[in-house]
Symmetry: C2
Subunit: 242 residues, 2 copies
DNA sequence: TACTATTGTCTCATTATGTGACAATAGCAA
DNA sequence: TTGCTATTGTCACATAATGAGACAATAGTA
């Protein structure tokens, strides 16, 4: 989360946030043949959470999320999709935020609004793992990649949010041709296949996968990539239009 | 929208709402071989809008929507799906709500919170047209069915909401096997096909459709329905499990 | 030059879908 | 009763998509 550390926050219009409304982002990256997401750890609490934030009173919701992503990853023009808004009562646990504020030396009274009930609009983002320069926010001392199947325990309903993000990503994989957003602009067919396998959680048949991808007509073939290994070198591809 | 008409609303805890947060519902029904949705018209304004409402401070978001649907349609246990949360600045038009309040004889000062910026969580519902007993809310004098392709001009971004609801419904049609929710519990294959055609907006091939539906193994075949017409009578089907 | 791992492509089998044919009605008219 | 018509359920065949394996073409190493 990001918010003005000035105790008199309310006095700066651009820094006033809509109460009760937050967003959380599940930021997917791909590395070591695994799907990973960015998780923040709050100072001195051992608590882990998705990167999220608040919406300024004069700011479009989607802009708020892009702003947060830029601050957290240094990246612009990210593939981003809103997938669900979480509004159960179980996610209302003021003790959690209180602990976090106290551990950071903030006077709880000055941030009482953060202890309120929040409804959170959740987004997932797909980014090129190698381009990220992850930056923690004011309350957290780290933001790190964790494999999707080996996450630390997350606060509130963040584990549900991650699960739903993953499910939505699986459903959208073919329909929105989304796999290439997790790779650098040039990639081999095998790399693309590994991305699909990581997202779906099942192995795919090499020949069928290659035929299918090529038949879509959205890949442009470039030169080969010589890896130095003792075998035929694969072609590099890019997503049509890059 | 539904809210306590007592001017001292804030004093009744169950009737206090989360500020800045609303929901809107696109309620689909099927009649006359057409997709229709429920639209409300506000008293003395000529303004049309989707049925919506607010979330009580101690109420889960999804419950709030189901409550609103029950009040508006008299139905319980409705097929309901959240599909997007709208948070642009274009949807902030305090004049609109002000006009509506004034036209209903409410003192605007007592409902100033309704003139604020709202983020709206949008849901679509699929219901059996014939079971609905539509009830207008405190501000509107009618709630009526309109064919999807012949809607009155809607306030704010409600036309966008409807368009996105329709798109999402189309995408979910096969994946979630959702068509039967628009029909009575027993229906003919032709009726089901008409629903699919209305949702997708394209004609479907009778034999292929029938084969596909039967192969899914989710339909139970019952007795025939004799319509009095001079031709072979079709079987009735139900969704497996009813 | 032989050998290995990997890649690109082809072939054939299997499954799904498009397209039309056809027999089986249910009521009506003769 | 016997045709007649519109509609339904099912089948048959053609076409398209996918599963599954075979195989030749490398890029390096031994």
């Amino acid at each position: 989360m990001d918010f003005n550390q000035d105790k008199h926050m309310g006095s700066v219009p651009e820094q006033r946030f809509l109460p009760h409304i937050a967003y959380d982002s599940v930021i997917f990256g791909f590395s070591g043949e695994q799907l990973k997401i960015l998780i923040m750890e709050y100072h001195n609490t051992g608590m882990f959470a998705l990167p999220g934030g608040f919406v300024r009173v004069d700011e479009p919701l989607n802009d708020a999320v892009r702003r947060g992503l830029r601050e957290r990853t240094g990246l612009d023009n990210i593939y981003l999709e809103q997938f669900y808004t979480f509004g159960s009562l179980e996610r209302y646990q003021p003790e959690v935020m209180e602990t976090i504020l106290q551990a950071n030396g903030f006077a709880v009274d000055d941030f009482r609004w953060m202890l309120d009930r929040f409804i959170s609009v959740a987004y997932y983002a797909l980014i090129n793992y190698n381009k990220v320069n992850a930056q923690p926010d004011a309350l957290s001392d780290s933001i790190k990649w964790y494999p999707l199947n080996d996450l630390p325990p997350l606060i509130l309903d963040h584990a549900d949010i991650v699960a739903k993000a993953h499910r939505t990503l699986q459903e959208n994989l073919e329909r929105k041709l989304v796999g290439m957003n997790l790779l650098p602009s040039r990639f081999t067919m095998k790399e693309l296949q590994k991305v699909y396998e990581a997202i779906l959680g099942t192995p795919l048949r090499r020949t069928t996968f290659q035929r299918k991808m090529l038949s879509l007509g959205i890949l442009k073939r470039h030169e080969k990539r010589y890896s130095g290994k003792a075998h035929k070198a694969p072609y590099l591809y890019s997503f049509e239009g890059e």
